[in-house]
């Protein structure tokens, strides 16, 4: 990551990763000792479909600069079709976050399979860079979590 950008602004990013695919990819990236931005904090969930609007919005309201939701590729869901639901909810959430004055790029949904350790690293690093460029989130009404 660009050191200069980092000095100016350290983004806070939350990554909701599904247990079966993307969390496994993060493990693979780790055991392959890939360098990954510390801006993203991993929160493990069983399925990307578990990530509901409340969780996303509360995370934004409390000052997250970016949220990454990542699960299995379409068709690969450990629970059959959870990731399709995640995709629909994401489409809706994008609109909601936009209406709140948040840049839509701050919320990203992506599919990373268990063998894509290198892709995990790429996605996290490029997402961090993107958020760093956007600057701090305009919303921060820290409520009591």
């Amino acid at each position: 990551m660009d050191k200069k950008v980092k000095k100016e602004f350290d983004p806070k990013i939350v990554g909701f990763l599904c247990n079966w695919c993307t969390y496994a990819a993060a493990d693979l990236a780790g055991s392959s000792k890939m360098e990954i931005s510390p801006a993203l904090s991993v929160v493990r969930v069983m399925c990307s479909s578990r990530v509901d609007h409340n969780l996303v919005l509360t995370t934004f309201f409390n000052g997250a600069d970016g949220i990454l939701i990542a699960g299995c590729h379409p068709g690969d869901c450990h629970y059959g079709e959870g990731n399709y639901y995640a995709r629909r909810r994401y489409a809706l959430l994008k609109k909601v976050t936009e209406s709140l004055g948040l840049e839509s790029e701050r919320l990203q949904l992506t599919w990373i399979s268990a063998s894509e350790g290198n892709r995990y690293a790429e996605v996290v690093n490029s997402f961090t860079e993107k958020i760093a460029k956007l600057g701090p989130s305009p919303i921060n009404c820290r409520s009591d979590l």
Binding site: A26, D27, N62, A64, G82
Partner: protein, 559 residues
């Protein structure tokens, strides 16, 4: 009681210790203001997953009397189960423990030691806060009924029943027609690779009748079903009334039908034409011992047309190529003088013995003609060859291989059982490759051609596979232990919108009309949390992954 949280960070040899400043963690965490209200013990250890490490941890939990435990170590995918095992040896409920992955998420991916340490502290704080929000969960043990209901008395249903029936397990075989045996018992013979052939089928039918642990319901159907894995309640409707049955599992073996060739634009004929379907030929041969035209003569030339209705249905029926070669053999066995031509669009011979059978019949003079397109009008055939050249011919007899379609009662059964049907019209399996015999409902299996077009061999394998699942999972006298991390309904918040019922692929949620709320069946729920995402009123709680618990992790992430 004041919470006493044990926090142990694992050095993982040099893997964590050399990349994360563990001593700084040991100093920082206890000094934090936010932990004034609780008692915090923070220590490091060389290798927690080693035998010594596990013993050490067990002793520490016992001697300190921790109410909660946080480990800063490796990925939960590596050692979560290991440490749950340690907790289980103590009084600490394993759901009051959490492993924090400071190896894959800090030590190994952040080269700067200071940053890695900060990150590890942040993750650990999230973990400490999270465990304080976690609740004890307890495994339940449920009694099961080992009996099995099999729907369909064809070869798949028969094989399932024979594999399962025994002194401790009764089988209820429900057949809609007046006798068991299904379509295969109407065949004249089987394929050369199929062992002793029809005799085996007949043997199996007799074994069913002779087995005291198999109760056959003829001219009967499924009337209703409630319940779940291990505890289904089924009503069977027969001519002379209804029967109530309790069973632990249900196997659907409802078989197949054949497409009406006339529904395809490429095929037309009338009753008086010498045009037959493959099954009609099997029955003709079985009944009369000979394949004859309607005028009672032996045909001099016969066209065998493959893939009837395939384009319309959108799938290959898998078995037609082989049985059409078998029909060619019937004809050649009857008289070598019969000119037999098979019109096909590429042969599908997926079993290892098939090609030699094909070769043998080609050597006996059966002409295999690969074509691109075919139309049939009575016994007249016109076609387009592979090189694009047209051709046509007239035959004494035409035999069609109609596509295999789901049996008529598939949709109504699917509705009763609440299991999905795939876009091909056959029952949808749980997973195409890794779980083909299960359905979305635990304890309901689908076998034979009800699953997809398949021959006798594969139907038997599917039946045995379902039996394998039941024999290893529903053991007479033993209990089942359902998943603990499931979803629960907070009835006070539930508005009864029933969104959650629609999204649950496992059918784990039902609606209680009297209370006006959703009810989660904890035996069936797998804890994915999809329903949670669909609930507009926050009435669901995904145990061990509740929003308050996840917020604790989030709060530290964005501190």
């Amino acid at each position: 009681m004041k919470a006493k949280v044990g926090v142990y960070v694992c050095e993982c040899g040099p893997n964590i210790a050399s990349k994360v400043d563990l001593d700084r963690i040991l100093e920082t965490l206890p000094a934090l203001d936010e932990y004034r209200e609780i008692e915090l013990v923070v220590k490091k250890y060389g290798l927690l997953c080693s035998a010594d490490g596990k013993n050490y941890l067990e002793e520490e939990i016992k001697s300190n009397g921790f109410t909660h435990l946080v480990l800063g170590a490796c990925s939960p995918r590596d050692h979560n189960k290991t440490f749950i095992g340690v907790c289980k040896k103590t009084d600490l409920n394993p759901y009051l423990y959490k492993i924090i992955n400071i190896r894959e998420h800090c030590a190994w991916i952040i080269p700067d030691k200071e940053k890695a340490t900060e990150k590890a502290i942040s993750y650990l704080r999230g973990g400490i806060n999270r465990v304080l929000y976690q609740s004890s969960l307890f495994e339940k043990q449920l009694d099961i009924d080992p009996d099995v209901v099999v729907i369909g008395g064809g070869i798949a249903g028969i094989e399932t029943a024979l594999s399962l029936a025994g002194e401790k397990r009764n089988i209820y075989l429900i057949e809609k027609s007046g006798k068991i045996g299904g379509k295969s018992s109407r065949f004249s013979s089987l394929l050369p690779r199929q062992g002793k052939g029809l005799a085996l089928i007949e043997e199996k039918i007799e074994k069913v009748s002779a087995n005291p642990f198999i109760k056959v319901f003829l001219e009967s159907s499924l009337e209703s079903i409630i319940g779940f894995l291990g505890n289904f309640e089924i009503v069977v409707k027969s001519k002379n009334g209804n029967t109530d049955i309790k069973a632990g599992a249900i196997v659907v073996a409802s078989g197949y039908g054949l497409i009406d060739p006339l529904s395809s634009e490429s095929h037309s004929y009338s009753e008086s034409d010498d045009v037959y379907t493959s099954l009609e030929i099997e029955e003709m041969l079985k009944e009369h011992g000979k394949i004859m035209t309607k005028s009672g003569k032996e045909p001099a030339s016969v066209a065998l047309v493959h893939c009837v209705g395939r384009e319309e249905k959108g799938y290959c029926s898998r078995i037609c190529c082989n049985y059409m070669i078998k029909i060619a053999r019937y004809l050649k066995d009857q008289s070598d003088a019969i000119k037999v031509t098979e019109f096909h669009k590429g042969l599908c011979m997926p079993d290892k013995g098939d090609q030699s059978f094909h070769k043998a019949m080609a050597e006996r003079g059966v002409e295999f003609r690969r074509i691109q397109k075919i139309t049939q009008d009575g016994t007249k055939i016109s076609f387009t060859g592979m090189d694009g050249s047209p051709g046509n011919a007239d035959f004494d007899m035409v035999i069609l291989a109609p596509a295999i379609v789901p049996s008529e009662d598939t949709d109504s059964l699917a509705e009763l059982l609440e299991i999905p049907v795939s876009e091909t019209g056959f029952f949808q399996e749980m997973h195409q490759t890794t779980d083909p015999v299960a359905t979305s409902i635990d304890g309901i299996f689908v076998v034979g051609a009800a699953h997809s077009p398949k021959g006798i061999t594969d139907s038997i394998f599917f039946a045995q596979a379902a039996a394998g699942r039941i024999l290893t999972h529903l053991i007479p006298g033993e209990k089942i232990v359902p998943e603990v991390k499931v979803t629960e309904v907070l009835e006070a918040f539930c508005t009864g919108c029933q969104n959650c019922l629609d999204v649950c692929v496992y059918g784990a949620i039902s609606y209680d009309e009297s209370k006006g709320v959703s009810v989660v069946n904890e035996v069936v729920c797998r804890g994915c949390g999809n329903c949670f995402g669909s609930c507009p009123s926050g009435a669901l709680r995904t145990k061990h992954f509740t929003n308050p618990q996840l917020y604790q992790e989030v709060r530290e992430a964005i501190r």
